[in-house]
Every structure is written in C-alpha cells, then in structure tokens.
Symmetry: C2
Subunit: 397 residues, 2 copies
C-alpha cells in the first residue's frame, strides 16, 4: 500500500474554559492508503500547534513536516511503521512539537496495519516482541476533576460509586491551592463519597512544582484515606525533586509521567525519578510504539505502567492495546466525565462489563470506529497562508 493522504482535524466544543479538562477540544488524524484502508488516531496536544507540524515549510534538513515525510510512502507491515516513525522523527529533529503532533498519525498507521492483517493492535505488538498475546481485562478508574469544594467532591465521588465504579481518580481543581486543611478535606471527601471498599487515586496536578517537602507532607496526611497513589505532586521534569521525594519513603506510592513527550522523558522519570507508577499518553509520546517501549521498561524495572487518557475512547483504544497483554498492569484510566464532543467521537465506546472490568476490543486495528456524522458539527476548519501560498487547507471529513 501507498499512503495517499494525511489529514489532521481540529474539533472543539463552542465554549472552552481554563478548567483542566482535556476533552474540550481534540486533534484527530486520518491517514488514507491507495487500497482504501483508512486509519485514525488522536493527539492530546494543542490542535493548531500540531497542525502546523503537518504543514510547516521546510527550514532545513532537520525541519521537514510530517505530511512530506509520509505521503507517497509504502506501508505494508509493522516494520514499515517503525521505519516511517524513524523518518518522521529524523526529519523533524528540530521541531520540538514533533512527538505531540506525530502521535495521532502513528496510531493511525497501526490502525491501518491492523485492518490490513485483520488483527487487533495488541496482537501485532505481541508478535513483534515475542511476548504472550492474551489480553487481560483492566479495572477502570473513573478520571474526574475535584469538585470546587470538599462537599462537591463528595457528591462527584458518590455519583461515580453509584454508577458502579470501583475506582476513581480525583485531580486538579482546588488541590494544593487553598492550604493543607482543604487539601486533606478534598481527599477525605473523595474517600467518603466512593466508600471504603474502592480504590481512590489523587492527582495533584503538578501543583507543588519542585517543593518535594510539601509533597511529602501531603502524602503522609493523605495516607489515612489509603489512596492507591499520589499523582504528579511535582512538575513533570523536576526529576531531582521526584528523587528526593521518593527517597523519603512516602506512605503512598508516587505516580507520574503523563507529561512525557519522548521515550527519554519517561525513562528519566522511571530510572532517575524513581516513581512507582508510570503514566503514559500514547497521544503525546509519539504513539503506540514508544508507549510500548515504556511498558517494556516498566516491566524490567518493576514499575506499574498505566495509561494516561483524558480524551475520547479513540485514545482509550490506542492506550489499551499498549498494555492489554500484561495482567499485572491491571488499572485503566477511563475518561468518565468528558465533553459531549469526546463522548461522540467513536460509535462504539468501551463499556464496563458486569464484572466491573474493561476489555480490549478484539477487532482489527484499534477496534473502534470514528463517528463522522456525530463529530462533523465540532470541526474547526483551519486555513494557513504564508505569503501568497496556502500551506494548509482543511480536508473534508
């Protein structure tokens, strides 16, 4: 097959706020081949900045856009995906945004190859790595923002519990901003709302920067409410601060890694930061293969791999293929309060089964289908001109 088109689509809801809700807009990438097979992927990144990486004029041999690298290329096997990924990253060596932008395309390439061979992506990954190909169900944790107050948080937690969730993560919002008492009250409310027989996770949303002493004190204070982890208490690249925090042996495991835009950043936070859970967004780190490599590193280092997913179930599908075959990596971030847009992107979203678990789709490629009709109203068509030349014209959905 030849790649004949690589098209990014910027989708958004009408009113965007500063809330830490990543589902207010998104960037989907569609790749078409001359055999009629089409693949999709989703980026968790600024849509406009990433679109620029698909169309930016060449600056020199290290700044060449993604479309130029991919269109006309041969795509017949997983090896071709690796070869094309290497080409894209080499041509984009001096484009900082290259991984954020390429993630959607890389996922789309896997979707195409899976469809071509009639195999789900997790199987292709298992074959490629000579590892077991049996998928294992995951315990989904609802991923939501803290309420504005402890009382609101308790209500959010109670609703999640009533909807049947056995695990939920609460993050961002007021955490870390109104003092220790409020922070503790938020965690207590989350625990009380969810009930004693559930897992709760706390996401501090990088609020303490490099202040690992405060992060440690909060971890100790939160321990009374037995959260599964304390996530991102520190800035994403504050590796020394993570190392200092973890060397104090906090009573709650520490999770981080969603900010990893490269494999090295994930490796750095595992090896030098020392986190116990590593959270990878396939829509930021450059797609499925670098995520899978982090999974393999996590296996070697005895760290638990978890997906970071705060987009649609298209992203969730990509994320799940990466670690479906490892039974020890048993937690799945499950977007539970996303925008209308994010809930409409796929026709066949993941369901929580009667046993409370989520299973990977045993279908070719990603196993989910984009609902073109449903997303059409959210399309924000982009047009970019430089001088008299149009460098980006919106393709039709």
């Amino acid at each position: 097959m030849k790649i004949i088109a690589v098209d990014p689509f910027y989708l958004r809801i009408p009113k965007i706020t500063t809330a830490a809700d990543g589902t207010q807009d998104t960037l989907l990438v569609r790749i078409r081949t001359d055999e009629g097979i089409e693949g999709w992927g989703e980026c968790d990144a600024s849509p406009l900045v990433s679109i620029a990486v698909y169309c930016c004029p060449m600056s020199h041999g290290n700044i060449i856009n993604i479309r130029t690298s991919l269109i006309g290329e041969t795509l017949n096997s997983p090896d071709d995906i690796l070869r094309l990924s290497e080409k894209v990253l080499r041509n984009g060596l001096d484009i900082q945004q290259i991984q954020h932008a390429f993630s959607g395309a890389e996922i789309a390439l896997w979707d195409i190859i899976g469809k071509k061979f009639g195999k789900p992506i997790y199987r292709l990954l298992a074959e490629m790595s000579n590892t077991p190909n049996t998928p294992h169900p995951k315990l989904p944790y609802a991923s939501v923002l803290f309420g504005d107050t402890p009382e609101n948080t308790r209500q959010v937690a109670k609703e999640l519990h009533d909807r049947g969730y056995h695990a939920a993560k609460f993050g961002w919002g007021p955490m870390g901003k109104l003092g220790e008492d409020n922070d503790i009250a938020l965690v207590r409310a989350a625990r009380e709302g969810m009930g004693a027989d559930t897992q709760i996770m706390i996401d501090a949303g990088v609020v303490w920067g490099t202040d690992y002493e405060t992060a440690f004190r909060r971890a100790e204070a939160f321990a009374d409410y037995t959260p599964t982890w304390l996530e991102e208490p520190l800035a994403p690249d504050a590796i020394d601060a993570y190392s200092s925090l973890i060397s104090k042996n906090p009573s709650i495991p520490i999770a981080a890694g969603e900010g990893s835009s490269t494999y090295r950043m994930a490796e750095d936070i595992i090896v030098n930061g020392g986190v116990q859970f590593v959270q990878i967004d396939a829509g930021r780190i450059g797609g499925i293969m670098p995520s899978f490599q982090v999974r393999q590193l996590a296996e070697q280092r005895g760290v638990q791999y978890v997906n970071h997913t705060f987009k649609s179930h298209l992203s969730l599908a990509a994320s799940l293929h990466v670690f479906a075959t490892n039974p020890d990596f048993d937690l799945l971030e499950f977007p539970a309060a996303g925008s209308e847009l994010s809930q409409r992107i796929v026709k066949d979203p993941f369901q929580v089964d009667a046993d409370g678990l989520v299973r990977v789709m045993d279908l070719p490629g990603l196993g989910v289908e984009v609902d073109i009709e449903a997303i059409h109203p959210y399309l924000a068509p982009v047009h970019i001109e430089i001088g008299t030349e149009t460098v980006f014209e919106q393709s039709s959905l």
Copy 2:
C-alpha cells in the same frame, strides 16, 4: 511598563534546501511596551510551528498561548521576566513547542529590561546571581558545514584560516554517511586546511544514533588530527549511549546539548550523559535564563559551557551574554557562513578583534539593533484562520 504587543516575524530566503544550514529562515520576536521601549529576540525553531504557539486557541488551563500570557502584563525588572517566564511555561504546560517558541520572547524581555536600566544583559545576570560582572573575550570558532568531499572541506578550511580564524568547527554534510575512510579524510582535510596551530572541532550531526561503538571508533581515529571535541556523535536524547561512549574514555572530549529544549534535557546530558562540553542554544531552551542556569550547572560540574548558534548575530548576542563573565568558558560558536538573510538581521554584527577574539557588546540590552529595512524583503507574512476567526494576522515590521 506594560507589555502592549508581542509579534513574531517569519523571515526566509527564497530557496530553502535540505542542507543542515539553520540560517535559511528564522523567527524573530518583537515585544513592545507602553513606554516605547522595544525588545527583540530570535528563535532557532520551525517558524510556523512556533508562531502557532503565539496564537493557538486555548484548549484548557494548560494550553494557553504566549500572547495571552504576556500582553497587558507588567514588566519592570529582571524578576518580572522570571515571573512571566513561569507564567508562560505554566500556561503552556501541555504545548510541547513552548520553549522553542518562547525563547525569542524571553530574549526580547531581557533586551527591554537592559534598555530600561541602560545595562547590558550580562550585567543584569551578574547582579541577579551575585557573580562577577567583568566580561571576558572569547575565541570565536567559525561554524561551517563539511564540504561535500574532503577536497572541498580542505578549501573551506583554508579560506577560514586565511580569513584569520584560529578555530573552526566542521559539521554534518557527508560525515558518517560514506564510511570510515571518508570520515577520516574529512577530518584530515579540515586539519590540513586550517593548519597545525589552530583548533578544529568535529560535529557528527547525530549521525550514529545510539551506536556508541562506532562513535568511539571514530573518536579514536579522529584523535590523530587533535580536534578539540567530537560533537553530537549520537542522538540528542540517547543519554545511555552517551554514558556508554564516555565510559570508554575516548581520546577526544565529547560535546553535545544543542538539542536541549528544556533545562532538564541539558541537565540530563551533563549529569547522566557525562559530556565534557555542553552546547546550549538560548533560542531553543526557552531563552537567556534557562541557558544561564545550565551555565551555572556546568560551573558546578566542571563541564565547559559553549553556545550553540547557527542563526544571526541577534542570537549570537543573546548567547554571549549568558556566559560572557566566565573566563574559563572561552570558546564561542561564531556563525561564519550563514545566508544573506542571517548576515543582514543586525546593523552592527560582531567583529573579530585584532587579537582574534570576540567581545560582548557593552551596550544596553542585547547591544545589537535589528535592521528593519534590510530584513523587510525576507518577511513571509503568515495568516491563520480557524473557522471564521482570524487567529493570526501578520503585524507590520
């Protein structure tokens, strides 16, 4: 003062090639204040991708563009620059390209504060860090590409020698692509052309990826020609491979770091990679302050800080202020074969003095002035629409 305008300008020559010549285009950033003081900075990054970071619509609280973060803000002191940098980076937490794009604006903020206080930037940095404020001259090394053949390289080297350069770096081009014999012949030609009494540096342009064994063999083979360093033999984030290479004690010091888009990347390659020279581009890492922080780390670790500059003398000025006051950091990358565009950007380029050294400009701010008339013909006006809204309209120069 209040910031009233933040304007990026995309400049380029008519015909861009894949050569590793970073001077074929550029992105300048102009910041204006309500007191009429204006500052300039230059980014070494994809102009279009970076412009998108100045104007992209908000996605949520972690994707807010640079203009939104800066316009209307108070700017009266170096502390305001730090505060605004923190704001920009926090608002752009999930924009991978944020440092590449912000670099030009950060430099422009320093230019403004220097002009306001009538002080060169290196003095502001010395005051802020309580370090000596005496500038020291640097030995400029001409930074050029290898010729296509050893013979061409010899000619290039001979011309540089005849122009009075006592040091020159040769990089990219055929290095690493045509086998060991050709690689050695290129280095020999560089040495022969420059003569025995000069310094030469070899830039392998990331050509051996993670293959530190080949990099080591080349270092040993090149040692006969006594280069000052072997630069970027490996991929920018191949930290383990750098560590493996350096643990073999190659006969030439290893240099790297130009790909550092964040302070952490530079710290990583110094602390975990173990390089002996760290090369920082103030136009990529987020500007002058993060560069200065890498300089301070290099001082602590006994590593030599060198600028990476492959743009105009506007970038050179910014780079030089960062380490002008450290007499041990005595080498200066000096763009010597840039495009017509890059040579016209400032009115008053740096000169090599009679003693063969280059001195920082003892003038307010950066100490160089942008030649508006000269660059006007190179302006590539950018226009970006999303739906019916114009999100970027080119400002006039």
